[in-house]
């Protein structure tokens, strides 16, 4: 078979949603570090978000399933720990999609810039941890709605 270009593979991976926050894709999240062909084998290098993130094995399965559906047969997934994943690798498109979904995107200041519901800057932290390892719980003191904040690491 003719092998697709790596750009094509990146494009396919861009269609694979994050299993826990399906509005963003794996490439939006910045966890796909490399795509390369070694002979006939498509090698995808993935870095975990958090070392204990239960979504890691599902993510690997989703990558393999998606690439198989596009006709690739030899697929190898490599785990890369260093450099450690940082939210700096999240794409602007990913940040916009998070905000539209109601999750405040990560900020270098360490807290959300504004309430994703009403846009108010009056927000306070409820807990450093949230419903998944990558999120914290915050609340808007104007509209009083609680919301998830994607932690900046």
């Amino acid at each position: 078979m003719t092998l697709p270009s790596t750009d094509q593979v990146w494009d396919w991976l861009h269609q694979v949603p994050d299993p826990e926050i399906p509005v963003i894709s794996l490439t939006d999240l910045g966890i796909i570090r490399d795509v390369a062909f070694e002979g006939e084998t498509c090698v995808v290098t993935v870095t975990p978000t958090y070392s204990g993130c239960p979504a890691t094995s599902i993510i690997n399965l989703d990558i393999e399933t998606a690439l198989r559906d596009h006709g690739l047969r030899d697929i190898e997934l490599r785990r890369q720990l260093s450099p450690a994943w940082t939210t700096d690798w999240m794409t602007q498109e990913g940040r916009d999609k998070l905000a539209a979904y109601g999750i405040a995107p990560p900020q270098p200041a360490g807290g959300p810039d504004k309430c994703p519901h009403c846009g108010s800057h009056h927000v306070e932290r409820l807990s450093q941890f949230g419903s998944t390892p990558c999120k914290a719980q915050w609340r808007c003191t104007d509209c009083l709605e609680p919301f998830d904040y994607f932690k900046c690491i």
């Binding site: 070392s51 993130c53 390892p133």
Partner: protein, 261 residues
């Protein structure tokens, strides 16, 4: 010395021991913290404790995975976690102590997090590339753990009379288990010579700086005595509590060997 020559300063068995110490600390503490799942004082704390446990268990997978690789007997991280008995565990005694009340759990967490953060910052410079990479990953997670345990200990210590007294009692109970974390032996000396990791004694000033400031803000008094219970990380002696914990943690693999999720 070059990296290869330095590595020769540590035997394979010593490196395995060193990695077991790292992995058993996170495994045993991760399991202890997970015991709160579903019964913490409030939902936010339940979620925070479960997330902390999850990070620690993820780190365990990496440390014990590396230990199994270096050991070269074809074992997995799971084999090491579920099929060793008490005397083969190399965690410090502090992490195997029962949870006590919520305040005691968070006091133990602060004492361990402060040590963990200072240790990982040094391990990032390890001559072993895998150790360095795991430390880099874990230190980001541990920075969060420390921020939370510190804030919570301060909130409870400088809280009501009841919460203050409980936090002081927790500190008095746990303080004799602090010294073991900074006690060096032959395995540590070999690790220093090989450039694998730091001398535990050298981590004490960094730990003291974090903990002394937190306790002062929490209006808690650090006990005077430097007496230290030891034996966990060398494997000489564990407390009676570890065996009971392992019964719970390992029973499934003991009852149904090789069973998979």
């Amino acid at each position: 010395m070059g990296a290869a020559e330095k590595l020769a300063e540590m035997t394979q068995e010593q490196l395995v021991q060193y990695l077991l110490r790292l992995g058993d600390n996170t495994l045993v503490l991760g399991h202890r913290v997970s015991e709160w799942c579903g019964k913490s004082p409030v939902l936010e704390e339940d979620i925070a404790l479960a997330n902390t446990a999850l990070d620690l268990l993820g780190q365990t997978q990496l440390w014990l995975g590396r230990a199994a690789d270096v050991q070269g007997e074809g074992k997995s991280a799971d084999d090491l976690a579920f099929l060793r008995d008490v005397w083969d565990f190399r965690n410090v005694l502090l992490v195997e102590l029962p949870n006590g009340d919520f305040g005691q759990t968070l006091m133990r967490q602060l004492l361990f997090d402060a040590y963990h953060a200072v240790l990982l910052a040094e391990l990032v410079n390890s001559t072993d590339a895998t150790i360095s990479a795991i430390a880099e990953k874990a230190s980001k997670e541990v920075a969060y753990h420390l921020e939370r345990s510190r804030d919570t200990v301060i909130g409870l210590g400088d809280g009501t009379e009841e919460s203050h007294n409980r936090m002081q009692a927790a500190l008095d109970l746990l303080w004799p288990y602090v010294g073991e974390m900074f006690h060096s032996d032959a395995v540590d000396a070999a690790a220093v010579a090989a450039g694998i990791g730091p001398d535990p004694a050298s981590l004490r000033p960094g730990f003291d700086a974090i903990v002394t400031a937190a306790l002062a803000e929490a209006t808690l008094v650090k006990p005077d005595s430097d007496f230290a219970h030891k034996g966990g990380r060398t494997g000489a002696m564990h407390t009676e509590h570890l065996g009971h914990m392992l019964c719970q943690m390992q029973w499934l693999q003991r009852a149904y060997p090789g069973n998979k999720w």
